[in-house]
């Protein structure tokens, strides 16, 4: 399904989705991030990319698994499976769209994670193609994506100046467009060519190459014990920015948060975890197989370009560039992969 949506009628479409939670990028606190669209919100889709990727809408930073308490000496558990309203996220960039099916794989391949899927099945991603790269660190094309890639999105919108070209990609996306009714118009004769022209122009911007993409996995395997990792991580401060902001990092920790120890009351919660933190692979014995910054950098890069390829047949990095742009000390995954490949 392909339609045209005049920019001044976007709000009309959003208003038709009144049973949904609708989120769109908003510039607040000097940073783009997703925010709930309220009645008075003016939706601004001129965003670069949001600081947080949309993974949080299926995999929130904190998920309660169940509540526990002790009643008359008997432990009692109360399930807390999420039951969210349908959630529509507007303005998802194609790199982040490509991240979602990778997360879906992780949360379904061996075990279908009920908490993830309770949210994911009600999530609709409305993408917005990039007409130009947002930063020198955008490398979507170098990792097999494109500024107008459809993978993982339910709808892809393309900015044509005063209007959007809107394409339904999944059945869910088609239904969402149908709900907009009269807000949408049919394509005119010149529109398909105009969309193709905009996509081609966007793709023509040069991006930093990710060296010898086909052989990166092999290179990382061959240099697993190389001193390069330690050297490249020498100034890493071990914070969690690179992985928390990553559209495909999905590691988590599970803890019991006790609110009242006398009554055995509390919650079992899943929170994001992070391979850059010192306790990430800490064994109960005190041994830590990823005990230094070099092996932690290797863990992150190898997960993106080696382990994920081995386990799921595709790279995990979708080229959004956040880990590069936001690293406090300039660690650059493109340069890291390049150096390992050339070593």
């Amino acid at each position: 399904m392909e339609k045209i949506l005049s920019k001044d009628r976007l709000r009309e479409w959003v208003d038709a989705l009144d049973d949904c939670e609708v989120l769109a990028p908003a510039f607040a606190d000097s940073v783009w991030n997703y925010a709930r669209v309220e009645a008075e919100t003016v939706i601004d889709l001129s965003h670069t990319n949001t600081i947080n990727p949309p993974k949080q809408f299926a995999f929130p930073q904190r998920e309660v698994f169940f509540r526990f308490e002790r009643a008359d000496g008997v432990p009692r558990l109360t399930p807390t499976l999420p039951d969210p309203r349908p959630t529509v996220v507007i303005g998802v960039r194609p790199c982040d769209g490509r991240g979602m099916p990778r997360n879906d794989t992780v949360f379904s391949k061996e075990f279908k994670d009920p908490y993830y899927w309770a949210r994911r099945e009600r999530l609709v991603l409305v993408g917005l193609a990039c007409n130009q790269p947002h930063s020198p660190n955008c490398v979507c094309q170098s990792v097999g994506g494109a500024p107008h890639a459809e993978e993982g999105l339910d709808v892809l919108m393309t900015d044509l100046g005063d209007r959007f070209h809107v394409k339904g990609i999944t059945a869910k996306g088609g239904e969402l467009i149908a709900r907009g009714g009269d807000a949408f118009a049919s394509l005119q004769a010149g529109d398909p060519a105009e969309v193709a022209r905009v996509h081609a122009a966007a793709s023509s911007h040069p991006q930093r190459p990710v060296a010898e993409l086909g052989t990166v996995a092999e290179a990382i395997r061959a240099r697993f014990d190389s001193p390069l990792w330690e050297e490249m991580a020498r100034h890493c401060i071990g914070c969690g920015i690179c992985t928390y902001l990553c559209p495909t990092c999905h590691c988590f920790d599970i803890n019991d948060e006790v609110t009242n120890p006398n009554h055995g009351t509390g919650e079992r919660v899943r929170t994001w975890d992070n391979c850059q933190f010192p306790d990430f692979t800490m064994h109960t014995s005190g041994h830590n197989p990823r005990g230094d910054l070099g092996s932690r950098l290797r863990q992150r890069v190898a997960h993106k370009f080696l382990y994920f390829v081995e386990n799921h047949g595709t790279q995990q990095c979708t080229g959004c560039g956040r880990c590069i742009s936001e690293c406090p000390v300039g660690i650059d995954i493109v340069a890291v992969v390049d150096r390992v490949s050339r070593a």
């Binding site: 606190d29 000097s30 940073v31 991030n33 670069t48 600081i51 947080n52 930073q61 904190r62 947002h134 930063s135 020198p136 660190n137 930093r208 020498r234 100034h235 401060i237 071990g238 914070c239 969690g240 920015i241 928390y244 902001l245 920790d253 803890n255 948060e257 919660v269 929170t271 994001w272 992070n274 933190f277 010192p278 306790d279 990430f280 800490m282 109960t284 014995s285 005190g286 041994h287 590069i324 742009s325 936001e326 406090p328 000390v329 300039g330 650059d332 493109v334 340069a335």
Partner: protein
Amino acid sequence: MVNVDALRGYAADLLEKGQVRAVIGYRRGTAGVLAQPCTIDEAGEAETLVWDPTCLNNLARYLVEDRQQQAAAQTRNKTPDGRPVAIVAKGCDSRAVAVLLQENYLKREDVVIIGVSCEGSGVIDPRKLAARPEGRWASRVDFAGADAFKVTVGGDETLIPARDLLADRCLECRAAAPALNDVLFGEVVTERGLDEPFRAVKAAQGATEDARWATWEHHFDRCLRCFACRAVCPMCYCPECVVDSTTFVNTPGTTAEEKATRIRWCERSASVSESALYHLTRAIHLAGRCIDCGECERVCPVNIPLRLLNTKLEMEAFEQFQYEAGRDFGQASLLSSFRDEDPNSFIR
């Protein structure tokens, strides 16, 4: 002007003569416009050192890292190389070194401070640069006197008023040249005429208590607890952070009992209550120690105005006790000293 070639020559000379183990400085990054930290072990590498307004990092943080590695080597019964380490230090960075010396974390003879003047200006805020048209695509930023930066985008050079790009911390800076140094490149500049010290925190505390709490609740709700603010801070050198359970040390000798009964003051959940506890505890632990390098605020991916918490405490220290962290490494520390003329007579 800082003569970068002279700085490189000085660093190379230190390494050539074997007077230092390494030089911690800045080099060009591989992505974007910012310089990045580097550690030079060989004289030949000194030519990669740079100094420009994109040298944002407070490198004193790497002195802490180095000290921890030296200590780890000692516990493995290896004799560490006892020679000092040299560090390229801006005004704020040198104040951080002074606090580390004052707290006996380092010895004066263990560090060679290669001071660099901020040329009467300071470093840039990359977000201010990125907010300008084409700013994201800048390939270089250079000092152009005290009042402007020269920004290169493609082949074009543009002069941008310093005020428009300067990091907020630099606007309020009281000493844009390192007072503590073994050698100084560039001029000592004392007259700055930018913002008055503590301007931002004075403005922020004008709001009502309810409004201030609402603001901080909003910020703590946005916090991802990536711990970058703590990880980048040269004063946060505790091997175990009381409000970060991921740092709790676990050794073969740690018993199951110890692991089970260890108190988690702060849960991993990134909720308002836990994040408030994390940030406020960290701020209190920095009282009288924060030298306002502003690194915590710079690295925050969601732009929480963390400097306000720290500068509020430093303003109290300054106004109540005329105390400035990092002014002099010989001074008694704020929290461990008492003078008869101190206010709050009820203490006596």
